[in-house]
């Protein structure tokens, strides 16, 4: 019973990791950029929602939606101003640019909202649901549901919609995609916009747990990387599976060997990358000569 409850609380944290990882994977899949600023985009969007609620008096869900609109525009702006000019630059330059963005977004958020942590409300509240002897809290169920719905929605988008096919074409070969009439720039802009939306969603759902502060995503971001690596950085279902698995494993390790709980995730990254670099559900990318 204790074990089952541990697994459930592992799923609760895992769903947060999964949410944070989804945006990372979406952007990486299409534009081949590992966005180190993803967590900061999440944090910024969450602060926008917070300001709307506290200063603007907007109700929770209204603030949620408006923050997502902001996040979409924000993501597209980042793509237009920083990422697009670097489309032909070597990988290391893009990496550095996203690290620069991390610094800028984090710093500017500190300027606007200060450095003290603030409590953040949850979307739903109420008595936890009991099934047998197991306890499920409502926010946990919401997080799990949102992670799964988003995963399925984006999976379907990639697989069946024209936009998704264009995204895959851009990921596969940008030049060829352009030659057959795909507006590659528009596709990339939309990808970053969607990435921003995913980031803000993750931030708003994570903030009640971590409390809202400019550094709320610092460790979450590393966990999201781990989740992405574990599930496969090119697979959206992989991101969710990886996130949930990481949450559960971490909790179980914490149960049996408490002092290894924190280093565990980091050791896992290295181990997975050594033994199965493509992750659980990812596809192997071979370098063309």
């Amino acid at each position: 019973m204790i074990l089952a409850q541990q697994i459930i609380s592992g799923l609760a944290t895992g769903s947060l990791y999964a949410l944070a990882a989804l945006g990372l994977v979406l952007i990486f899949k299409t534009s081949d950029v590992v966005n180190f600023a993803q967590g900061e985009m999440a944090m910024f969007g969450t602060f926008i929602a917070f300001t709307l609620m506290m200063k603007g008096g907007v109700p929770y869900w209204g603030a949620f939606v408006l923050a997502l609109v902001f996040a979409a525009v924000f993501g597209m702006l980042i793509e237009r101003i920083v990422i697009r000019p670097l489309s032909t630059a070597p990988l290391i330059s893009v990496l550095i640019a996203t690290l620069g963005l991390l610094n800028i977004i984090n710093g500017v958020a500190g300027w606007i909202w200060g450095y003290d942590p603030k409590p953040f409300p949850t979307g739903i509240s109420g008595a936890p649901i009991r099934v047998g002897g197991l306890v499920f809290t409502l926010p946990t169920l919401l997080n799990l549901a949102v992670a799964l719905v988003l995963m399925l929605a984006f999976f379907a988008l990639f697989k069946y919609s024209l936009m998704g096919i264009a995204m895959r074409a851009v990921a596969e070969n940008r030049l060829a995609a352009r030659l057959v009439g795909v507006h590659t720039n528009r596709v990339l802009a939309i990808t970053w916009g969607l990435g921003g939306i995913l980031a803000a969603t993750a931030g708003i759902l994570i903030a009640p747990v971590t409390t809202l502060s400019i550094n709320m995503m610092a460790e979450m971001q590393v966990k999201a990387f781990t989740a992405g690596v574990l599930g496969g950085f090119t697979s959206l279902p992989g991101a969710v599976v990886g996130g949930l698995l990481l949450g559960v494993l971490e909790n179980l390790v914490g149960q049996f060997i408490p002092q290894l709980k924190t280093p565990f995730a980091f050791a896992l990254i290295v181990l997975v990358l050594i033994f199965r670099p493509a992750g659980l559900l990812g596809t192997v990318q071979r370098k063309k000569v």
Binding site: F28, V34, V82, P85, L86, A89, L91, I92, S93, L95, I96, A97, L99, G100, L101, L102, N103, I104, N106, G107, V108, G110, W111, I112, G114, Y115, A218, V222, F225, T226, V229, F233, Q259, T262, P263, A265, F266, A267, L268, I269, V270, L273, I274, P277, K287, V289
Partner: protein
């Protein structure tokens, strides 16, 4: 000839610096000490990233590891300081060599993420050995004494760092100009082509990791006995990112780039602090929450903006400005020379 003379004068000026600076500028010596130690790590990282093309976002871990090895040797076992610093370097190099093996299977983004994980894991693991590292409360390494001289002040320590830096710069330049350095560059530009030329990936990638970890370990040893307080938490993501920023900012693949970048990034915070403080004292922004926060932390945003600007407009780093300025000057002079020739005479 004049070039050599300039070098000698420049070096003499650097040597005299701690002696001529007044007491009020003690902070400058402190910042220079820190920047030069960071420069040592950055030179090593630049060999790994700039020359061999392997990204590492966890380099502070090697520095921390070196710091604790050096502390353990000097203060727990009782090895003389001058001996334990290079030993710390070698022990860190073994760790780096070990990390080189998993890195063989990774490249690009994946290597960046793996080293990021490594950089987070090492402080956590060091933290578990409380008898050695003191856990999160940390330990207090002793003040080193060499030939009866105690290096307790930042001014005295400056020379210790400078000597180490000069030796390590000399080694780095020799590595870069040797067959090993060429092999690093070859495998950075194309692993397949390098292998076709008979360069062993396993040998040279692990070697690049070992060399850069050696630099970090030595600097970590110096750092421990300079700061006289170390805790595993000090060597986290922040320093790793600072190191990475330095080499990009200064110029990838050059020794001078690492030093220029370290000095620039080391002195920038003080500059923004001075400006912020004077603006704050003027009282003009006393009632603005936003501006008060800007004064508290303007450095981070500035670093980010500079980083992006460098990537967009100066991909070879700050050291490239010097070359660009010279090219501009030469073309101007030539243009002026051409104009001096009367028209019609060819």
């Amino acid at each position: 000839m004049t070039r050599k003379l300039l070098y000698v004068i420049g070096f003499a000026a650097v040597l005299a610096l701690p002696q001529v600076l007044p007491e009020e500028l003690n902070w400058l010596i402190m910042l220079l000490d820190r920047a030069l130690m960071i420069a040592i790590v950055a030179i090593g990282l630049n060999i790994l990233t700039g020359n061999a093309g392997q990204i590492s976002l966890g380099h502070a871990a090697f520095m921390g590891f070196g710091a604790f090895v050096c502390y353990g040797l000097t203060d727990i076992i009782g090895v003389p300081f001058w001996f334990s610093v290079p030993i710390a370097g070698f022990v860190a190099a073994i760790l780096g060599w070990g990390l080189g093996f998993p890195a063989l299977r990774l490249s690009g983004h994946y290597l960046a993420i793996a080293t990021l994980g490594f950089g987070y894991a090492i402080p956590q693991i060091l933290n578990l050995f409380e008898g050695w590292t003191g856990g999160w409360t940390g330990v207090k390494p002793s003040v080193p004494t060499l030939f009866g001289i105690s290096f307790s002040s930042d001014r005295a320590y400056f020379y210790l760092i400078l000597v180490t830096l000069v030796v390590l710069v000399w080694i780095a330049r020799n590595i870069q100009r040797s067959a090993v350095g060429r092999a690093f560059i070859a495998l950075r530009d194309s692993e397949v082509a390098a292998q076709a030329m008979g360069i062993s990936l396993a040998k040279y990638k692990t070697m690049a990791f070992a060399i850069s970890a050696f630099y970090a370990g030595v600097a970590g040893g110096l750092w421990a006995h300079w700061l006289n307080y170390i805790s595993p938490g000090n060597f986290g993501f922040g320093i790793s990112i600072e190191l990475f920023t330095i080499i990009v900012l200064g110029g990838l693949g050059t020794v001078s780039g690492a030093i220029v970048g370290a000095l620039f990034l080391g002195l920038l915070p003080k500059l923004t602090e001075i400006i912020s403080l004077s603006l704050q004292r003027s009282g003009a922004f006393a009632d603005s929450f936003f501006m008060q926060n800007v004064f508290k932390n303007s450095n981070q945003v500035l670093t980010g903006v500079i980083l992006i600007l460098v990537v967009l407009y100066l991909p070879m780093g700050l050291v490239d400005l010097w070359r660009k300025a010279r090219v501009w000057w030469e073309t101007r002079r030539q243009a002026a020379g051409r104009q001096a020739v009367p028209r019609g005479v060819k």
